[in-house]
């Protein structure tokens, strides 16, 4: 009977109730969206570098190493000598490793010189392997593979010739004596690799081999024609190295071995730890999202309290009648609470459906933009908490109205 009363009463007041549901629904949609965007952003951020157990770079702090190797921000303090680095790493229990050399760019996008095994071991966001959208991985110089966003924004396709630029400043000198051919374009990875131009270490070595004193002294084309093996083009120094271990249990042992090496000063950075540190540094956005959710929810519940209070007059008679036929005060309160639960439940279900629908519909875009596969899923614990909190808050928000109605109905008798 209580449910019948609640549902009929809500239906009877359907227009104001619909407005309350709409207002709550909007607030919940915003709060759930913010929560999902926050989760997606954090997941995307934490997956900026997947599949790598250690990054070896010049000393300078783990966040700085992460910034210039993964996010292409800033510069290393110094380069690493490749020969002693190779000798050191080959003594350690590593499953794979690949050096990376940075320093050049193409129209604002960083060039990453590395080996072909980079694409076998470094992963996309969501721990998926890096895949080619089209073409193949570079082999002999001068060849490049473009990140998805580079190709999309600059309109490159396979077979196009591009000129790399020395340094990352906009007005840097061009290595225009040897254009590189686009041989592959990566599928979206959802990592900063989408904004990178990849070439081989040998290609990187080639364009710098004749580069003396900031000028081209020998044509790269001539050098390429004169060498017997491209191995001769491998640079003597690199910027950093990515390492994958045979067993993750060895991570601290290997880290210590690298940092204790006396050959050259090295830092070995755990990417997950450095990413978490960096997220905490930029976590203001995270807290801002939470504050925005809170404000939106508060506004919605204030409007709910206002609407409940403004409804009192029209409901006094109804409550008095219930008291006349013997309804105890707790039944009146239960009825009001049940109505509030039904309203917030309806709002929550609609908001959840909206957010899930939008996330699902925007899945392709999200995948391209931040590499996160947005799939249909149950709400996570935090989202359940938001929904549960909304129900609890809506029950509490009818408190002032309920107290007034209860006091009135308890006094009410035949005199009205």
């Amino acid at each position: 009977m209580l449910m019948t009363l609640a549902t009929r009463s809500l239906w009877h007041r359907r227009w104001p109730v619909l407005l309350i549901i709409l207002s709550l629904c909007l607030a919940l949609t915003a709060a759930l969206s913010v929560e999902r965007i926050k989760t997606l952003a954090k997941t995307g951020f934490e997956q900026s570098l997947s599949g790598v157990d250690l990054i070896v770079g010049a000393p300078g702090g783990d966040v700085q190493t992460l910034l210039y190797t993964v996010f292409h921000l800033g510069e290393p303090t110094q380069n690493l000598s490749l020969q002693p680095l190779t000798e050191l790493i080959e003594q350690l229990p590593v499953a794979w490793w690949t050096p990376i050399a940075l320093g050049d760019s193409h129209r604002g996008y960083r060039v990453i010189a590395t080996q072909a095994n980079f694409f076998e071991h470094v992963q996309s966001a969501g721990k998926r392997p890096i895949e080619l959208a089209t073409g193949r991985i570079f082999s002999a110089p001068p060849e490049v593979v473009l990140g998805h966003q580079v190709a999309a924004s600059l309109g490159y396709s396979l077979g196009d010739q591009i000129v790399l630029q020395h340094g990352t400043a906009e007005l840097g000198r061009q290595h225009d004596d040897l254009p590189f051919e686009v041989v592959g374009i990566l599928a979206p990875t959802g990592t900063p690799n989408d904004q990178a131009v990849f070439t081989s270490l040998e290609g990187f070595g080639l364009i710098h081999a004749g580069w003396i004193g900031g000028k081209t002294q020998f044509s790269a084309r001539d050098i390429l024609a004169s060498i017997k093996s491209t191995d001769q083009l491998r640079p003597k120094t690199v910027t950093a190295a990515y390492i994958g271990l045979k067993s993750r249990l060895d991570v601290f042992t290997v880290q210590r071995a690298i940092e204790d090496d006396t050959g050259q000063p090295l830092d070995a950075v755990l990417p997950a730890v450095a990413l978490a540190k960096l997220w905490n540094l930029v976590g203001l956005t995270d807290r801002l999202f939470t504050v925005i959710s809170g404000v939106l929810m508060s506004i919605a519940f204030l409007s709910l309290i206002t609407m409940s209070l403004s409804n009192i007059d029209s409901r006094r008679r109804e409550m008095s009648l219930l008291r006349l036929v013997g309804a105890p005060p707790k039944t009146i309160l239960l009825l009001l609470a049940l109505e509030a639960v039904l309203i917030s439940l309806a709002s929550g279900i609609i908001a959840l459906a909206l957010v899930t629908g939008v996330e699902w519909a925007a899945g392709r875009w999200l995948s391209d933009a931040i590499g996160i596969s947005a799939t249909l899923r149950w709400p996570n614990l935090l989202e359940w908490c938001v929904l549960g909190g909304a129900i609890l808050a809506s029950v509490l928000s009818i408190g002032p109205a309920a107290i007034q109605l209860y006091q009135t109905s308890a006094r009410a008798g035949l005199t009205r």
Partner: protein
């Protein structure tokens, strides 16, 4: 006896209302008259355990109602009192059946089961002349006369010991008033139910066994 009031008074702020002696046997009917503001409705509130601070003797269906508090008062009202008022006191968005159902909803399980078992809403509606009315739609869509009949049906549904009616005919013309009173009296279980009706219409006393005049304010 069904209603026994003696030496009863109640303080409402600075004002104290005193009530006449009433002694109504089970199955009897009485008309309570008096000028406006003399406490007729307040007396009905006391009889239905809605006015807790009354002093004196007030027994309804064998229960001293002035001593009832909280849940006991609510349960007493649900099981022993049937209310009919000039404002009809129906919940407009419920249909006639649901309004009648309210009449038994808050009784104890045993009494409710018994009442529900013997409650034949359709038969009751037929007896009250509601055949043909749209009883499954919101009761607010019915005419005033039909709503009055539904209110009577709800008051009778719980098989209460006492029916308290507060000026139920004030909005009716004399002809409709007579018909309504006839209908109400015909449907009372005269073996078990007592009717106390408040009205300014002294003419209704011809339908009742007793007339109680409240002249003192």
């Amino acid at each position: 006896m069904s209603i026994y009031v003696d030496n009863l008074s109640v303080s409402l702020g600075p004002r104290t209302l005193s009530f006449p002696r009433i002694d109504l046997a089970t199955g009897s009917t009485a008309l309570l008259t008096g000028p406006s503001g003399c406490g007729k409705s307040t007396l009905l509130n006391i009889l239905s355990a809605l006015q807790p601070n009354a002093c004196g003797t007030c027994q309804v269906a064998g229960t001293a109602v002035t001593e009832l508090r909280g849940r006991a008062a609510d349960r007493f009202r649900a099981e022993n009192i049937g209310m009919i008022s000039q404002t009809l006191d129906l919940i407009g968005y419920l249909n006639a059946y649901q309004n009648v159902q309210l009449g038994v909803q808050f009784q104890s399980t045993a009494k409710r089961d018994k009442a529900v078992q013997s409650l034949d809403s359709d038969a009751l509606f037929d007896r009250l002349g509601l055949t043909g009315a749209n009883l499954t739609g919101p009761v607010s869509k019915l005419s005033v006369g039909q709503q009055q009949r539904v209110a009577v049906a709800r008051a009778l549904a719980g098989q209460p010991a006492v029916i308290l009616a507060d000026e139920p005919t004030s909005a009716l013309d004399p002809e409709s008033t007579a018909a309504f009173i006839q209908l109400l009296l015909e449907n009372l279980d005269r073996q078990r139910q007592t009717l106390l009706m408040v009205s300014h219409d002294h003419g209704l006393s011809e339908f009742m066994d007793h007339r109680i005049e409240m002249s003192t304010c």
